[in-house]
Amino acid sequence: MTAKTLKFENVTLKYGKKTVLDNLSLTLPAGRFSAIMGASGIGKTSLLRLAAGLVPDKNFTGVVDAGGAKIAYQFQEPRLFPWLTAAENIAVVLESKDTPLTSAELRQKSLELLELFGLADVADQYPDSLSGGMAQRVSLARTIAYDAELVLLDEPFRGLDEQTRADVMQKVRAALDTKTVILVTHDREEAEFFAKDNIFNL
């Protein structure tokens, strides 16, 4: 699988009368981490939503080209399915018609990912019984589980305590090493950890 470049050409995005992105052109390199920084409300999340194809065409002008990549998106909120357990929330993005896995294989893979983030013992719990930080990590495990070529991370480490955060950051970096990853963050340290030479200020 080849990593894809993510290109924005002359993108202008408006919500009603408010211009969020004004004639933005930006190329994010393939196969490595890029960090997007900038003040709140400046359009960092909008950039990710554009890349993920979640903004209706009528709302923006210009070109957003992700090269038809398979995309994984870590939203700011965990966005877990409340009726699925932690393990099933991961399995749900692993099941696919192209490469069908048996339910035992799905289970196994999900457990491995949960274990990576120290969540093996909550595998069969439903999201409403998880703490915010746990739900966030389950959600990160889901993002990593999906076999994507382009990974969008929107402040993925928010709400994690200091110790967990350092550990999770290491693991995320290792897991997504060869992919095109766009990280949106407020935290300079975090940006440098992932994308030393690739920090874009909006």
């Binding site: 993920a52 194809g53 979640l54 398979k70 995309i71 994984a72 998106y73 939203f75 909120e77 966005r79 399915f81 009726w83 699925l84 357990t85 393990a87 099933e88 399995a91 749900v92 993005v93 099941e95 018609k97 339910s103 035992a104 799905l106 289970r107 999900s110 457990l111 274990e115 093996a120 013992d121 595998a123 069969d124 999906y146």
Partner: protein, 270 residues
């Protein structure tokens, strides 16, 4: 490490003993009230009703009558549920149709059952009327709830489904069905008792020869208050049974058709 799936335990409001005690209490009140009245015609005692009941259940007519009424009304309930589900989906998918049908829904909900029964006698005749009335009770409630459920699907989860390329079938199975099922159960809960009672009322007015409604009507004509109570008791018991079958049965049936994504093997060594 052992993983175990735990169903959230739901604490029942009553223990079995409390349940029995409460029933005994009210039957005792009934008994005392009947004694105070001292007039079978106004208020028969629970003993007389029980005696009549036990006489009735040994006759084959009782079972035939009960079965015919049940069959009529269950057909109506199923018809109403089926139409309600279909219309819920269609109007949720096509907003224009919702706007078009909305007044109709409001009118059905606001029209007194008696008006419908009388109108329907003129429109469709006596035979299928209780079925029609039962369907009419269920339809707007199921329809409304399905519509609301579909429209309240979490937009954030829809985005997750979109990003992760869920196929339409997967989207329905993993997102819509689990989301809608509580709305569906709730609509059954409110509508089934209603449909059953309205169906019996329709029978009383249309008098199908073999029906609970006819028995109730006869009891009124011949001033057989004990019969009236016995048949009413039958209606109550069947109402409870219907709710039990439909409401307890629905979530269970749903979890049976809902295939789990992963095996919850009894013990997985991690």
């Amino acid at each position: 490490m052992i993983f175990q799936y735990q169903e959230k335990p739901k604490k029942p409001l009553f223990t079995a003993l409390e349940y029995v005690a409460v029933i005994v209490f009210w039957v005792a009140i009934w008994f005392l009230a009947a004694r105070a009245t001292g007039e079978e015609l106004l208020l028969p005692s629970p003993l007389a009703v029980a005696e009549r009941m036990s006489g009735l259940v040994t006759t084959s007519e009782f079972w035939q009558i009960t079965f015919e009424s049940l069959w009529r009304i269950i057909c109506g309930i199923l018809l109403g549920v089926a139409l309600g589900v279909v219309m819920g989906f269609i109007t949720a998918a096509i907003p224009f149709l919702y706007k078009l049908f909305r007044p109709l829904l409001t009118v059905i909900r606001a029209t007194p059952v008696a008006s419908f029964i009388i109108l329907a006698i003129i429109w469709i005749g006596r035979d299928s009327l209780p079925t029609f009335i039962a369907a009419l009770m269920v339809l707007p409630i199921v329809w409304g709830n399905m519509y609301e459920g579909i429209n309240n699907v979490d937009v954030q989860l829809l985005e997750v489904a979109k990003v992760y390329n869920f196929s339409p079938v997967k989207k329905i199975r993993r997102l819509y069905l689990p989301h809608i099922s509580p709305y569906f159960s709730a609509s059954l809960k409110t509508s089934i008792g209603l449909a059953w009672k309205a169906g019996i009322a329709a029978e009383i007015l249309t008098l199908p020869p073999i029906s609970i409604g006819k028995q109730l009507s006869d009891a009124k004509i011949y001033l057989e208050t004990t019969d009236l109570f016995a048949w009413t008791l039958t209606v109550i018991i069947l109402s409870l049974l219907l709710e039990l079958v439909f409401i307890q049965g629905v979530p269970r049936g749903y979890s049976l058709i809902k295939r789990r994504i992963t095996h919850r093997s009894k013990a997985v060594t991690a």
